[in-house]
Every structure is written in structure tokens, then in C-alpha cells.
Symmetry: C2
Subunit: 203 residues, 2 copies
């Protein structure tokens, strides 16, 4: 190129966050509506389990649903390793995909149904903030205790000590302990499989 | 398609996080090394200002540098509105682009130089977590006070009350008040321009 090569170009200044092929197929196999809390969490737990079994990310999944009707928008999975992106937690992936599908950055914009995020454990310190900024009106989690970190070794970071009341102050409803034991079983299977735990600053 | 249309496909299950054309050109105009703290912050402030002047996102930018040499990896900008993605804060954009360029999810992996994130204000509650997970060894910010929220109206969310000591515990150095007044001037210009403040749940 005779000395006019450029260090930065469109290709090295863009990142793609996507889902593995099995997840797209599994999404197409789901019904359009998942009415109960347990049906929604069960689907999320299946994606969390399939994600590490397929070696396409860590044992975490998150689904975006219309809160009242149960209409499925999308389920995302953890993509840190395959996308080489430390922010590609399941919540960030799911919320970003839902916002793309709906064509808006605020799932709480005027005229929309209330949206719900369903996750297979409490959010980490980053994803807690991502929930606040997403516009969802409801967060459903399988559990919030120390089990996840104790079983898998994944660092959740310093979650804000008042995270529950901070959600409430922003009118984001919280449902806890939905299929908690089933969620713990997914973490145990992950741990027994010897899956990579990708905490930061391993150097 | 005779009844076999699929609701989910590769196109609607992927998100692209990218930089506007002016930012790619501006990155190519920067020297490869920015030695001093002020030079690094000054470049970040220029990107923050250009971002809202070009209407390509909010008044925030973040740069990833080799901490000791000052080698520029990339500068990212806030892309919430153009990418319709509430997680596309400048820090997430910059860290994700840096990790893609370097081909790894952990900027603190063994054998790497120490990396630094330079941002034009303190992180929001989400980006605080993103800094922890990125592997950077150093965070440089222009300021951490109430000025940003007061001037622009952007909600920073409930940052962990012990965020400074949490960074220190994880061996992430913190440099504050680098070109603080210049950063405030960027926010004032944004505010005077009538730029959109995209806090969540505006409905």
C-alpha cells in the first residue's frame, strides 16, 4: 500500500456479540409464550447447561420475556471465551440482542409492554448496572446466595450492598428463588466437567 | 418459505458494537504512543466532544493504553443510541475493542504489559464491574464528583460505596482528577447543545 496503511480500520474497530448455532436452533424449538415463572427459568437453565456442554461459554444464560404475557423475546448465553470479550456475560448478551430485535435501547420506553429479565443466578457487579440501564421492569433469578461462587469459582465481584432496594427504588420488581435447586445442579455439573473459570487478571 | 420460516436466525441474534467513521480516522491521526497522563486524557476528551458533536453517541469516551509505555490500543466512545444498546457505554466499547484486537478476554493475562483504561469521568455502576472483569491494571479518570450528573443529567446509578478500595484490593491502580476542569467543559458544551440524555425507563 506504499506507506499509507492505516493502523485502524472498520474491521479492527468492531465487535460482534452473537449466539452459537445450537442456541438459535433451540430458540426456534421453544414455544412463543412461556407463561409461568418456572417455565421461563427452566428454559434459561437448559440454555445455561447446553452452553458449557457445547463449550460455547460459561454456565450462565439469561432470557428476555414480556413480563405479563410470557412472550419470549430472546435467550442469550455467556460468550466471554468465544467472543474474547469479558463483558459478554449472559445478561449483557440477552439485553443487547433484545434491544436490537426491538430496535430500541430502552426496554422501558413509552408504549411498550413491561419486559422481564430471567437469569440463572443473581447478577454480578457489572450486570446489576446493565439491568438498571436496560429498561426492564422485572428481574427474576434462581438464587442470590453464595452457592454459585462456592461451587463454580466464578467471581461475582462486589455487588452493591443495597442492590435489592436500589432495584425497588427504580421500580424494577425482583423475584427470587425460582428453581434454585435446579440452578445449583447446573453449577455442580459445570464444576464436575472441569470447565474453564475465566476470572480476570489470571496473569 | 412454505411454512418453515424460523423466528430466530443468525441476523437477529447478533449485535455489532462499532465506532463511527470519524473515530477511525481520528485514531489513525493519533501518535502510536501518548506518554503522559495529560496527553492520554486529552485524546479521550477530544473523542468525547467529537462524539456528541457528530451525533454518534453521548459525551463519553474511554481509551485503552499500555500503562507504562503509553502505547495506544484503541479509544472507544459511547454508542448507546446509534447501536440501540444500553450497555454500549464508552468503557464497554473500548474494553471490548481492545480485547478483540489483542485476541483475549483478559487484559491481565500472563505475559502481557499492564493495560490502563482512561475515561472522562468515574465509571457508572455497570462499568465499574466491567473494569474489574477486563483485566486492566490501572484506571485513570478525569473526575469522580457530582459534576457530571449535575451538568448533563446522565444517571450514573448506585456505584458501590467502597469502589475505590475494591479497585485497590484487586490491584487496579486509580489516578483521579486528570484534566478535571477540561472534562467539565465537555459536559457543559454537551448540555448547552441540547443533546439527548438517554436514561432508562423513560416510558
Amino acid at each position: 500500500m506504499m506507506g499509507n496503511e492505516q493502523r485502524f480500520c472498520k474491521e479492527n474497530t468492531s465487535v460482534i456479540l452473537d449466539l452459537p448455532a445450537w442456541a438459535i436452533a433451540a430458540l426456534n424449538d421453544l414455544p412463543e409464550y412461556l407463561a409461568s415463572a418456572e417455565e421461563r427459568m427452566s428454559a434459561v437453565l437448559t440454555f445455561a447447561r447446553m452452553n458449557f456442554r457445547h463449550k460455547t461459554g460459561g454456565p450462565f444464560a439469561a432470557g428476555v420475556f414480556e413480563r405479563d404475557s410470557g412472550r419470549l423475546v430472546v435467550i442469550g448465553v455467556n460468550r466471554v471465551l468465544p467472543c474474547t470479550c469479558s463483558s459478554a456475560h449472559a445478561e449483557i448478551t440477552a439485553l443487547s440482542l433484545a434491544q436490537k430485535q426491538l430496535g430500541l435501547y430502552d426496554l422501558g420506553a413509552a408504549g411498550l409492554p413491561a419486559y422481564q429479565l430471567v437469569v440463572n443466578w443473581r447478577p454480578c457487579s457489572m450486570c446489576f448496572g446493565a439491568v438498571l440501564w436496560s429498561g426492564v421492569r422485572s428481574l427474576m433469578i434462581a438464587g442470590a446466595g453464595p452457592e454459585q461462587e462456592a461451587i463454580t469459582g466464578f467471581d461475582e465481584g462486589p455487588l452493591h450492598p443495597a442492590w435489592r432496594s436500589e432495584l425497588a427504588q427504580r421500580d424494577i420488581g425482583l423475584q427470587e428463588n425460582i428453581l434454585q435447586q435446579e440452578a445449583v445442579e447446573v453449577f455442580k455439573e459445570f464444576s464436575a466437567s472441569g470447565g474453564l473459570v475465566y476470572n480476570a487478571r489470571l496473569g
